[in-house]
């Protein structure tokens, strides 16, 4: 990698921004489409419930269905803020 490329990598180009946004968005969309139809609404309801007690961002809650043999697991992962 040349010196020139090194500078380019560090620079926040609009293409870098595009990639970042796409990665986040598509990760969300994949979780939703692979799961049952009620998943987005369930996720929304869970967020509402948690927000009664603590303030959290959208990306701090992960709701996922893990496919198992003969059964599926609903996986809920909530990152609580520090303190």
């Amino acid at each position: 990698m040349g010196l020139f490329d090194l500078f380019r990598q560090n620079k926040k180009t609009s293409a870098n921004k595009a990639k970042e946004r796409l990665q986040i968005l598509i990760a969300h969309e994949r979780v939703n489409r692979d799961g049952p139809d009620y998943l987005p609404q369930l996720r929304h309801d869970i967020m509402q419930a948690i927000r009664k007690y603590v303030s959290i961002d959208d990306d701090q809650v992960k709701v996922q269905i893990e496919k198992g043999r003969g059964y599926d697991v609903l996986e809920l992962n909530v990152t609580l803020p520090d303190d």
């Binding site: 180009t13 293409a15 990639k19 796409l22 598509i26 969309e29």
Partner: protein
């Protein structure tokens, strides 16, 4: 053995029809009996890109409805042996394409000895696009280096993986990524997603990269599939795509800014 290949994208105007025409022409040039079907009911365009618009008598929907036979509806290309075109209908009836009808036409094409059946999908994720992909063995997902196109490609991949006949039967449609309208200069300037960026996100095998090229517009003006413009970068890139699809190992070209670009900018 015949293979059904859908050229799809979700987003409109990314180069599906350009690709379908070039790809089918390339396969036929290499000796394979090939048909390219326009699934864009109501917005027929493949006939124009292939330069056969004045020879359309019957269309896909006529065949499905039994108003014409398959053989009399296929247009035989005059430039390339083994190449046939089945035009879309101009009807506004969105339900003209039925799964049963499409399946029977595909089966008849197989019986006629067609080795490759290329399906040019309409944009969107509605009925027409669904019909085009449902019977596919393989899919060429056409993507432009641009956020909305990449996102729509991912959605189409989701549909291929869950709603296609192959998927319903527990198998899978073989996926190929084709990046078109690629501009190495803009990638270099940090204005456009790179091939690597797109591969990171979509994570499917790369079939090829077609550069942005003036030859595409010129070829379409003349009703010539761009792959026949053998001097153009886009034509050559499509030719590589066909060879790669058929199993050859060919390095990707036209990914970097032209060497003489610097001088061109200085003196051009």
């Amino acid at each position: 053995m015949s293979k059904v290949i859908v050229v799809t994208s979700g987003k409109g105007g990314v180069g599906k029809t350009t690709t379908s025409a070039a790809f089918a022409t390339g396969l036929a040039s290499k000796g394979y009996k090939t048909v390219v079907i326009d699934f864009d009911v109501g917005l027929r365009n493949l006939d124009l890109i292939m330069g056969v618009e004045r020879r359309v008598v019957y269309d896909f929907v006529n065949v499905i409805n039994g108003e014409s036979g398959l053989k009399q509806s296929l247009i035989k290309d005059k430039r390339v042996d083994n190449l046939y075109i089945l035009p879309a209908s101009q009807t506004r009836d969105k339900d003209a394409l039925t799964a049963k009808g499409v399946e029977s036409v595909i089966n008849e094409l197989k019986q006629e000895g067609f080795e490759y059946i290329v399906c040019d999908s309409p944009a969107g994720i509605e009925k027409g696009a669904f019909m085009a992909l449902y019977f596919a063995d393989e899919a060429i997902v056409v993507t432009n280096p641009e956020v909305s196109s990449v996102r729509d490609s991912d959605r189409i991949l989701g549909i291929l993986q869950s709603k296609s006949k192959k998927a319903e039967e527990g198998g899978s449609v073989k996926e190929h990524l084709l990046i078109t309208r690629y501009s190495p200069q803009r990638v270099n300037d940090g204005e456009m997603l790179s091939v690597e960026d797109i591969l990171d996100i979509l994570a499917i095998p790369l079939l090829g990269v077609i550069p942005e090229s003036e030859a595409v517009l010129q070829a379409s003006n003349q009703g010539n599939p761009v792959i026949l413009e053998t001097k153009s970068t886009a034509g050559q890139a499509y030719d590589d795509v066909v060879s790669r699809f058929l199993g050859e190992t060919i390095e990707h070209r036209f990914l970097d800014v032209e060497k003489q670009g610097f001088f061109k900018r200085l003196f051009g």
